[in-house]
Symmetry: C2
Subunit: 475 residues, 2 copies
């Protein structure tokens, strides 16, 4: 007991990117003699790439273990007391302790902490509708989810897949299912796919996905999921529920036969524990932290990853941005601070990139409606250009939309839809947003140019020129 | 004559990117009734992509005309009085006039101007050595050069090519000649190819080029070029000069049989006219301008493109950076100002990107020796990462070197060598340099992440983390 007094104990709730990055970084800075680290994870895996699940399902990645950055054994070998299949059920900030349940034995016990990291992640939105629990209806949030979907795909004779939702997960799963040889229908509540883009840019995604053979259904609200035998007659599949296999997805006005259904509707911060403990939550349901990723008002609690809200540096408001790249950065910052160092997470600008087959989709900063909501007046321009010099082989078309603040000309956002080479160009705008550059200044950016890489005016420069002219013209 | 008094005359010397961009932009802003535009070009072509010549020679571009952005006829149709094959031989700033010679008729005459744009470009360095004028020895600066080289390649039975110089032009021509089926030897004066990189990064290019089957010869000074019959015996080819075809390239200690020789040694500003007229030149022989691209001390003369020096925003000193992307920007700025608008060219950060076969090479900012020369102490780090998530198909290795200022941690430069997806990542650093970001701030950049596009920590972020740690550790 003397030893437990001389060293501190760090408790980590959640064994994925944010939690285990924090634990690993703290371990790098503090030896086991100085800091005991206990990590609770309710699942079977640690430190895996949930973002990689669509590529595993699609067959680009053949082995699940490739998605695991660090196994439980590797964490334990580094001196982290990792407890798998153990769910934290209660958090007592005043008592500095958490209660955890061993999911195998059902036993519960309290563990005290000196410092706590909450990295409980996000939970997928699973609509409360009839049939959503039928066999053949899958989320794709965890490795376990991915394995269950693969098992279904291998055991299914039918080839009709319906993806519910047309955000990143939805379009990536559409690609995965196309690669598996399915006829894919994407059912989307919005007016266009990729609601993280403005609708005019989403339209380009819509058209391209149809060009890939995907059936796109917009403005469609799924009302129920029917079970059935997978036959062709709708009558045969009309037995609702009953515990059978999925047979069709029903919207307000149509019905889509389905042998497998993937739910890709998005996620919400998993903050039930934190909420019950009275920790501060933001408007999106995520934990609120300061710049050091410390939970506001709590000296001894940090949080990061998909369960927190982050500052959007462009709008000045909090957002929920569940992305692995942020979770890793949060974990790094938390582990550094817990380990006695100094690090901050300044915020995000809202960059995201995705692809469906050879279509690349990227965005950063504010959409039109974001700018409107936060009181920023803007000029918007859209240009067409190419990924390489027009005369160079495989130059492919690219559409760039750019928003600049009225009068000041400060860059507010960029959206890009194109083929190879389109997606990562958004990084130019991400850095420009971080630095608060105006579109006028951006017209002179010294970007890499050679015919295989870019036209002599990079598409981002072409957009900046048009935006700058519009800002000048509207002064 | 009344009419010539009421409208101004703009004279442009040089019909390529900078000159014709300036003319076109001025024309957009001023009608022919307001501004007469006369442009002199000594060659046969206007507004072409010299950067595209290696890809035309290599066969990626099949038609020379694809490299021409705007033909003489198109310029004339827009109201520009373009005079091809007309060389300006004298410039009289006090008299506001230029003397031009019609290269066909030999006639000379003076043309007065109200405003003048000097866009005389650069001339290739052609070493003064025996044999350099032999048939089969080619520069690749102009479309005419490219055509001459292609004619040689088609008329040559031998398959041995020697490229003199291992900068951008040299490595791009090496690729072109490999694609044409030649055995390629690159003879390089420096210790490693790509002297625009630090030698440790140049070494990676060296190794990769050898892996592509190119023979790399470093530390080699070409002393003469031998003519001969292209046979295998050196004795047979030992007749020096004599006006025959090239037979071998001779260095201080070796001899390389050659059926064709390409000179890719670099260029110098073409400023003989400006020098004779007493205009201000910088240490690299280029014209010195202000931020509006006006020649310093001359209200009515502008200059841009390969004949000017530009401000390096990182070092604070002037550099000569002959790149089409700058020339186009300069022309745009000049044309705007000449046309009565307002635009500036703030300077460069030194970004360049190139490739040889599937090897991508990029740099921006300062090399180690640049930083030393301008009195900046730095920390340098090099990291290995991959272009995509490690588990995603075709993830390829990438090496990133990063320099940060000692103490302040301000980013000073980035060099990248890798395969697909490596080159344009340098744009992240180019924008960060423009904004003066520290490497510590860069560790939190919100860059696009998805497994097909990047590891969860983008290679640039990995380098920034290592550089930031080194800056902290060395305070």
């Amino acid at each position: 007991m003397n030893m437990s007094r001389t060293r501190e104990r760090l408790v980590v709730i959640g064994g994925d990117a944010a939690g285990m990055s924090a634990a690993s970084q703290a371990r790098r800075l503090k030896s086991p003699d100085e800091l005991e680290i206990v990590a609770f994870e309710r699942g079977h895996f640690t430190s895996y790439s949930a973002c990689g699940i669509p590529y595993w399902v699609g067959g680009d990645v053949t082995d699940r273990d490739e998605l695991i950055a660090r196994t439980p054994e590797e964490h334990r070998a580094r001196g982290i007391d990792l407890r798998l299949r153990t769910e934290v059920t209660e958090l007592d900030p005043d008592g500095q302790r958490v209660r955890a349940r061993d999911l195998e034995s059902g036993e519960e016990s309290w563990t005290s902490y000196d410092k706590l990291v909450i990295a409980t992640g996000a939970r997928p939105i699973r609509p409360d509708m009839p049939g959503v629990d039928a066999a053949g209806v899958h989320g794709v949030q965890t490795l376990d989810d991915g394995q269950a979907l693969l098992d279904t795909l291998e055991g299914t004779r039918g080839r009709r897949a319906v993806v519910v939702g047309a955000g990143y997960i939805g379009v990536e799963m559409a690609e995965a299912l196309i690669k598996r040889g399915y006829e894919v229908t994407v059912v989307n509540r919005g007016s266009e796919p990729m609601s993280t883009l403005d609708p005019d840019m989403g339209r380009l995604v819509h058209d391209a996905m149809e060009g890939l053979g995907i059936t796109m259904v917009n403005d469609a609200e799924v009302t129920k999921i029917l079970t059935g035998d997978g036959g062709t007659s709708l009558l045969e599949r009309s037995r609702e529920l009953g515990g059978g296999r999925v047979g069709a997805v029903v919207t307000q006005d149509r019905e889509f036969a389905a042998d497998v259904v993937v739910l890709g509707i998005g996620v919400r911060p998993e903050t039930a524990l934190a909420k019950a403990a009275g920790l501060p939550l933001g408007p999106h349901g995520g934990l609120l932290t300061d710049r050091s990723m410390r939970v506001r008002g709590h000296e001894d609690i940090w949080s990061g990853g998909d369960c927190v809200e982050v500052l959007d540096l462009v709008s000045g408001q909090e957002r929920h941005v569940p992305l692995g790249t942020h979770a890793n950065k949060h974990g790094q910052v938390i582990g550094t601070n817990v380990g006695g160092g100094y690090a901050t997470f300044p915020g995000v600008v809202g960059t995201a990139v995705s692809k469906v087959c050879d279509l690349e989709i990227a965005r950063t900063g504010l959409r039109e409606k974001d700018a409107q909501r936060v009181g920023l007046r803007f000029e918007a321009v859209t240009i067409e250009s190419t990924s390489r010099a027009g005369y160079y082989p495989n130059a492919s078309p690219m559409t760039v939309k750019m928003l600049a603040e009225h009068r000041t000309g400060r860059l507010l956002g960029v959206q890009i839809v194109g083929r190879e080479g389109a997606g990562k160009r958004v990084d130019i705008a991400a850095v420009a947003l971080t630095a608060g550059l105006t579109v006028e200044r951006m017209t002179a950016l010294d970007l890499g140019y050679a015919p295989p890489f870019s036209p002599v005016w990079d598409p981002v420069l072409v957009a900046a020129r048009k935006a700058a002219a519009k800002v000048r013209g509207s002064l």
